[in-house]
């Protein structure tokens, strides 16, 4: 093998201890994703897709096994470093958009940039990103509650991109959108992948999975 994979999971287990018995949400997953790949993850509800995304997205650490992001074992990192990794290397797009309700669309996109750079953007990149996803300056002044689902998801895409992350994670990015808007968002993700970004996407929809280079199927916490 040539270059080290940008994402590498080795025998990852995630166990949720519950009074009714342990839940093995991930049960020995090994996986390598190279830089620039577009991977779709499919599987039935409750199979462990979101749990896997949370591991890759550094929101959680495995109970057993190792997860390496850009070569770093996340199980060894402090909360501070994990948070910094989320901020700098990972762009997360959620099914429920998850914009910050207190901030305008513009500020939502600006927010991760401010967290990282500690200064206001004077290059115009925030509005440039918003323009690219089809949100003009007038619309960008609105709060998330004043935007449609499709508009919110576009803002979420722009936010995920603002810190130039190496990895773009999308957990059912089109799950709450109509088919026309879904197609627009998927075109956007495909274009971003063409620019060289690694994209990992959870989906229930086979047509959406068509955009990916390869599809990983999860069943009961295992790769099928």
């Amino acid at each position: 093998m040539g270059s080290t994979p940008v994402i590498a999971l080795e025998n990852v287990r995630k166990i949720y201890p519950l009074p009714s018995g342990d839940v093995h949400a991930l049960d020995g997953v090994s996986l390598a994703i190279e830089k620039g790949e577009f991977v779709a993850i499919m599987g039935s509800s409750g199979s462990g897709k979101s749990t896997l995304m949370n591991q890759i997205g550094c929101l959680d650490v495995p109970t057993e096994g190792t997860v390496r992001i850009e070569g770093q074992d996340i199980g060894q990192l402090s909360d501070y470093d994990l948070t910094a990794l989320r901020r700098d290397s990972i762009g997360y797009i959620f099914q429920k958009f998850n914009l910050i309700p207190l901030l305008t669309a513009f500020e939502n996109v600006e927010y991760p940039w401010l967290l990282r750079q500690r200064r206001y953007d004077d290059t115009g990149r925030v509005q440039h990103l918003l323009d690219q996803v089809g949100i003009d300056a007038a619309l960008a002044a609105h709060r998330p509650s004043e935007l449609s689902g499709g508009q919110q998801q576009r803002v979420a895409v722009a936010r995920a991109l603002v810190n130039e992350p190496a990895i773009l994670l999308c957990d059912e990015p089109t799950g709450n959108l109509d088919s026309k808007t879904s197609t627009q968002i998927m075109e956007m993700l495909a274009a971003l992948n063409h620019e060289g970004r690694t994209v990992i996407m959870v989906t229930h929809d086979a047509a959406t999975a068509e955009y990916a280079d390869r599809t990983i199927l999860i069943q009961d916490g295992r790769i099928a």
Binding site: R87, N98, I100, L103, Y111, L114, R159
Partner: protein, 403 residues
């Protein structure tokens, strides 16, 4: 460009979004700050005005019989009659005179009795002194000093309280008393003397010596002897000289000066102030609970938002700061409004309770406002710490799942 604090902006927006709730929480702090600042100002103003009034008689020594019961406080007669020494004798008076050198020395009788004027009845202090001393020590605002035993002069507060004037009649005593009842006529009204330790004439009746000894007996049995020292720098020397002359064998007399009285008053005021402050503290405690409550509500309502913020790279300490700022904004705004209101309310209350706002802008008085503000704001921030800590330690995944 300047380093922005996006975290602070989020806190500000949250306060604005829940304006009514935040204002209500801040109200508690406003009330608390006003309460402690006003109480502090009243106390400071009282102390300052008492000190000022007492300084007018700083050159006076008061000699009282040593009743053996320690400090008899200020101005209150000892009730114990079993002790032969609850008055000063003429010999003692002469000894004091000798010991005091060129100082002006006079004696004073005092009693408390029932009195009645045309419409009102009550109790009043009745003083008597040598005719000469009365003219030297007291000054009249109108009328003249008593020339017969049925004539008296009264203090200005007494005049106001009983609504009388020169020529009015006052009935002293009660027919059921052993001394019986006697009617006197007011011939003069004294000038205001303010609070002083030697003689509190403002709210008293001053009679001729003969009237007093005729009614209450005890000729040459003086309640106290006052020594007016020429040069205030001699006060310690004269105190010592009187002490040596009269207290050589037994402790016959107590010698008090105004600094001692000021100390007594300050410490009494201090005790009262601490008590009042403790009660005001309860209002701050209530405020703290309401801030705590509002902050917990804010955290609970925004769990999902906290999850989002954490998931896109907001550090724990930034979340902590966000909520502490929120509490601090409420606290600082509340304390600021409280400070402005303390100045307004404090001014009115000080005028009402102390009678003068002469010392209102003295540092000792005004310092209570920033002190109250700091206490209020700090309490706010402290109340916000636990909710903020809770928020910052939420698990991002759990928080994101919240609805």
């Amino acid at each position: 460009m300047k380093k922005p604090d996006i975290i602070f902006r989020l806190s500000l927006r949250s306060v604005r979004l829940n304006l009514l709730r935040s204002v209500l929480a801040a109200l508690g702090i406003v009330i608390g700050v006003v309460a402690i600042a006003s109480i502090g100002m009243i106390s400071a103003n009282m102390t300052l005005s008492v000190a000022e009034e007492l300084s007018a008689t700083a050159n006076v020594l008061v000699v009282k019989p040593d009743t053996g019961s320690g400090d008899s406080g200020f101005g209150r007669e000892s009730e114990s009659n079993d002790d032969e020494d609850d008055y000063l004798t003429n010999d003692q008076f002469n000894d004091i005179r000798k010991a005091a050198g060129s100082s002006y020395v006079y004696y004073l009788y005092s009693e408390s009795d029932d009195i009645e004027t045309g419409s009102t009845s009550g109790r009043a202090t009745i003083y008597a002194m040598d005719d000469e001393a009365m003219k030297d020590i007291l000054s009249l605002a109108e009328g003249s000093f008593p020339s017969t035993t049925s004539q008296v002069v009264v203090g200005p507060d007494f005049v106001e309280r009983y609504d009388i004037e020169v020529g009015s009649k006052i009935t002293i005593g009660d027919e059921d008393d052993e001394e019986g009842e006697v009617t006197v006529r007011v011939t003069g009204i004294l000038e205001e003397r303010g609070m002083s330790m030697d003689i509190s004439s403002d709210n008293a009746i001053i009679t001729a010596e003969k009237f007093f000894t005729g009614r209450y007996g005890g000729e040459d049995e003086y309640t106290q002897v006052n020594v007016v020292v020429d040069d205030i720098n001699d006060i310690d020397a004269i105190t010592e000289s009187i002490d040596e002359s009269l207290n050589r064998k037994d402790d016959e007399v107590q010698i008090q000066d105004s600094s001692r009285m000021l100390n007594t008053i300050s410490s009494t005021l201090g005790t009262l102030t601490s008590f009042a402050l403790a009660i005001a503290g309860i209002s701050l405690l209530v405020a703290a609970v309401s801030i705590f409550n509002v902050m917990m509500m804010s955290v609970t309502e925004r769990i999902r938002e906290i999850g989002i913020l954490r998931s896109i790279g907001t550090q724990k300490d930034e979340i902590l700061r966000m909520f502490v700022y929120e509490a601090a904004i409420i606290g600082i705004v509340g304390a600021g409004i409280g400070a402005v209101l303390s100045l307004l309310i404090g001014y009115v209350v000080v005028f009402g309770m102390v009678g003068t706002t002469e010392y209102f802008f003295a540092w000792d008085s005004l310092a209570n406002v920033p002190e109250g503000m700091i206490v209020g704001a700090v309490i706010c921030v402290i109340s916000g710490v636990y909710p903020a800590w809770r928020a910052s330690n939420l698990d991002p995944i759990e928080a994101l799942r919240a609805e």
